[in-house]
Amino acid sequence: MKKTLIVVICVLVLTNLPIFDFFLKENYTYSNIDGSFIYSEESGKGQSFKTCLMRYGYFLCQHPEKDKGDNNLYRTFTIKPWRFWEWADFIFQHERFALPYKRTRETK
């Protein structure tokens, strides 16, 4: 029992390490209300949620008309809590999951 628990914990820790992000982590995608701004984290390969926020801020500055009305940033990915290899993101980088969800044409 104790051995099983240790194995489970090791698997949880290892699969949540950033070294496996490229293969395991979902391409978290984001969009504004009308889809004129889209962003993908590309599984952590050069892209990040922080960069997404900066890019969206820059986008709003460049397109002030998009800053009127609904200027929320939406996540276009669904939350999949069974993905234990993303639990570290749920805990330590939960901001992205708190964004409102918007379905894209692809997910409809």
Binding site: G46, T51, E106
Partner: protein, 459 residues
């Protein structure tokens, strides 16, 4: 003795009464301060600040950012320091809050209160971001040796401008970035050396935690071989030195044998149409233009040859800048697999806009027009297949640079486990980044940072 004491008390009372009158002046923001002399009293500033509670404008240029009210700012008046200046003194007070530059909280900020020549009071917020390397080498920061950036904001925390200092001397400037208002300053000289200055958009997070986008003037000096194979181009000529039959740098027709990335399924995928981005460079006139190529490397584990690390497998991106007169266009892109999970090992490719990429090391090359055209042609029609070991993001950048006559340092690294056939090798961001860090030169940035924003597709 008694008469002297009485006189002293009378003088003291007069002075004290004068001070009280000064304290009770009801000075509205933007009105004339009671300065019959050239000294600005701290009490005058304090009263002015207290009186502006109902009249401080609220910043509206970015509704997603919290608004700033100077009247609500916590100011420790006991820390105020009077600074001399040519006309009058001004008051400088340290403020809480740390700017975030290049992803790292660094620097400090102060607020300055001063009266202009019409005795109208103003406040300016100064954010000081010393150069990190310089700061580590110095024991004391003095105006005479300050190296780094200073950004100036108005009372509503709108960026007014900034200066870049090296050893106390101003070597550059910054200004708020505005759409279609990039003002490049290009100085072309056919004689060696050639100094090119252009504006590049950058950003950082100020002490209020708000993203600030600004344009920074960057100057580079290159030594051009004007007798080289492409050096004899006539910038003012009609041919531009090549392909006169197609109007100089006209975009060649797409290779019909190579499907465009734009044909990838899914309109809302972040993959971009590279040709649309590259065609933007046609909006900048070729004659007299300066062109540069920057390779950005995000190392998996910075400073090591490890192919995996805190940045996963890392990334290599390429940035192109073309500037001419009032036009300057930058595009930063990267090569990615268009797949998920283990399918990324070998998958269809896509080009992704890598604006504001966090990188560890970069290298910049100035290229001539012909080589620049070769590079953008290559990026416009990228290889259709991504392979993690055979042709990944680093291979793509290396190949793109080769098209432009640029040879990057060896990026070969051992990947995976060595078996009977020997160790497998691949071009990796880890090896490219580590080898770039071993190089020296003015065109290498080992401090890292964030890549500039891409112009995006042009209509």
């Amino acid at each position: 003795m008694k008469k002297t004491t009485t006189s002293f008390l009378a003088i003291f009372l007069i002075v004290a009464a004068a001070c009280r009158r000064d304290n009770t002046n009801d000075i509205k923001p933007g009105t004339e301060a009671s300065t019959s002399r050239d000294t600005l009293a701290l009490s005058t500033v304090e009263n002015w600040h207290n009186a502006m509670a109902s009249s401080t404008p609220i910043r509206t240029n970015n509704t997603s950012a919290p608004s700033f009210r100077l009247a609500d700012a916590s100011i420790d008046w006991s820390q105020a320091v009077s600074m001399p200046s040519t006309a009058s003194n001004y008051w400088l007070i340290a403020m809480k809050g740390t700017p975030t530059f290049q992803g790292v909280g660094q620097g400090y900020r102060k607020i300055a209160f001063y009266a202009d020549k019409h005795h109208t009071l103003h406040a300016r917020i100064l954010e000081f971001i010393p150069d990190a390397n310089w700061l580590q080498r110095q024991n004391h920061i003095t105006p005479a040796n300050y190296t780094g950036r200073i950004f100036v904001f108005d009372e509503a925390y709108n960026l007014l401008g900034g200066r870049i200092f090296s050893e106390g001397k101003s070597i550059g400037e910054a200004k708020p970035a505005k759409t279609n208002d990039i003002q490049p300053s290009i100085h072309i000289n056919n004689l060696q050396p050639t100094t090119d200055c252009y504006w590049v958009d950058h950003n950082y997070i100020n002490g209020e935690g708000v993203l600030v986008i600004y344009s920074e003037q960057i100057c580079t000096t290159t030594y051009t071989d004007i007798d080289g194979p492409y050096g004899g181009m006539d910038p003012g000529g009609s041919s531009g030195g090549f392909d006169p039959g197609h109007g100089g740098y006209a975009t060649p027709p797409a290779d019909s044998s190579v499907p465009s990335v734009s044909n990838l399924p899914g309109e809302e995928k972040p993959g971009i149409k590279p040709r649309q981005l590259m065609d933007c460079f046609n909006n900048v006139q070729d004659a007299g233009a300066t062109m540069s190529v920057t390779v950005y490397v995000q190392e998996p584990q910075p400073g090591t040859y490890f192919n995996i690390g805190k940045n996963s497998v890392g990334h290599t991106a390429i940035g192109l800048t073309k500037a001419n007169g009032s036009n300057s266009i930058t595009q930063v892109v990267g090569f990615y697999p268009d797949a998920t999970g283990m399918d990324k090992m070998h998958a269809p490719s896509k080009i992704v806009d890598n604006s504001i990429l966090d990188y560890n090391v970069s290298i910049t090359f100035n290229v001539n027009a012909v080589n620049f055209r070769h590079i953008i042609d290559y990026i416009s029609s990228p290889p259709v297949t991504y392979d993690l070991t055979q042709f990944n993001c680093t291979n793509f950048v290396i190949e793109a640079c080769l098209k432009g006559g640029i040879i990057l340092p060896d990026a070969t690294n051992t990947v995976g486990l060595s078996g009977p056939g020997g160790a497998m090798t691949a071009q990796t961001p880890a090896a490219l980044g580590a080898n770039l860090e071993k190089m020296n030169g003015d065109n290498i940035n080992k401090n890292g940072g964030t890549a500039p924003s891409s112009k995006g597709a042009c209509n």
